[in-house]
Subunit: 238 residues, 2 copies
């Protein structure tokens, strides 16, 4: 009900809510969220896709369910990524709040610092990489990289659907291996919290602060080299 | 000149070219390319972004330059990816045909099987991962994964701009390390060929065949698990 009121508000001019005792609360909340989404939008030096500009990793999610059909779209996007020898080494363990026991077991595989905020996300995942090739059992040097490619797709699709995704390095991979009986030729890569963005004012102060900092990146000159390692590629000067 | 004729054709109704002796050739070529792009389009079970549907990895590229501003957009997209502790472990060695010597040195770092077709791409890259954290020199477990995230962005941006990208596992990473004096705390991850799609009829028969096969992927049921490893997550049935 609360969520529904918020949604209505965000699509309706604020004025029509003046006589609703809840309106001021929801209006403020919606404005606060818009303000933060604005701060978090990338400031690219060259034009990039909206799904790249608007992507960032929040620590607060609204108390709003992600529909199964939406989840399928996210994983479908991941499914069509490129991979070495089309191995598709990506696997996903996914839990929603609809399955509280399973959800709690996934949450337990995150480090404590992440459990604090991630427990409010409507969906948690663990990403897993098959580290050998199916066709010959030899090591797949690109397994983790290709999980990254799949997650790149998933995150772009999520952003297009108005969702936010927060990937976490801070997990307990060996605990997850035991809890979910993950075979030896697979490795747990990362944790993922996803849902609709929520108001950061409920976070502890330290986290609230980082939730409101503009995103920053190294300049291209430090990342893209030409003939000499460490020296900016010449096309960057043109 | 050839390329220009083709470009004009693709934007002009074919009829107006009837009296041009070249028109039949370019018309057939354009139709052939369209036909293959159609075959290669993903057939998702759930709606996904166009940039995900249209992405695939060709082995032929048109003899058409990629403008510096376009390259900057691709790398800018990569730059804004997420990474563990915002380390941004991705580095790129990039060469265009405008710098023949540098281009040849990058080409030399691919395995022979890839050199055959990749030598026609207007742009070659090597992706590189910094495998330690800048802040404490400790190993970054997610370095390769995060290079994958950055490449996911780059490929989506490329697709949006009408380009195609072919990432290659088949490279000589230790040769690349020597040739480009890549420091010990970095690893060469993959090769990348990119440009505008070209007509595959110039490829050897075996490669021509794979260039015309529809793309295939494992079903979601084999990739997305719930409480039990190997068993499809329950939301997939809904």
């Amino acid at each position: 009900m609360v969520e529904r009121g918020y949604l209505l508000l965000s699509r309706t001019p604020a004025r029509s809510y003046r006589k609703n005792p809840w309106s001021n609360h929801y209006q403020k909340r919606a404005m606060r969220e818009q303000e933060i989404l604005q701060i978090k939008e990338a400031t690219p030096d060259h034009p990039v896709l909206d799904v790249i500009k608007k992507r960032w990793s929040p620590r607060v999610f609204a108390d709003r369910r992600v529909e199964p059909e939406t989840l399928k779209q996210l994983l479908e996007a991941a499914r069509w990524a490129a991979s070495s020898f089309n191995e598709q080494p990506w696997r996903f363990i996914l839990a929603t709040k609809d399955e509280p026991e399973h959800y709690a077991r996934v949450l337990d595989c995150l480090i404590e610092g992440n459990q604090g905020w991630a427990q409010h996300a409507p969906v948690l995942m663990l990403t897993v990489a098959r580290t050998t090739f199916t066709r010959n059992d030899k090591p797949n040097r690109h397994a983790w990289h290709d999980v990254g490619l799949a997650m790149g797709n998933l995150v772009a699709q999520a952003t297009a659907l108005g969702l936010h995704v927060h990937q976490m390095a801070g997990i307990l991979p060996e605990k997850a291996r035991v809890v979910f009986a993950i075979p030896d030729d697979y490795e747990v890569v990362a944790g993922v919290a996803l849902g609709y963005f929520g108001n950061p004012d409920q976070l502890p102060d330290r986290q609230k602060e980082s939730e409101q900092m503009p995103r920053s990146r190294k300049p291209l000159d430090d990342l893209v080299f030409g003939a000499t390692w460490g020296e900016a590629a010449s096309f960057l000067d043109t």
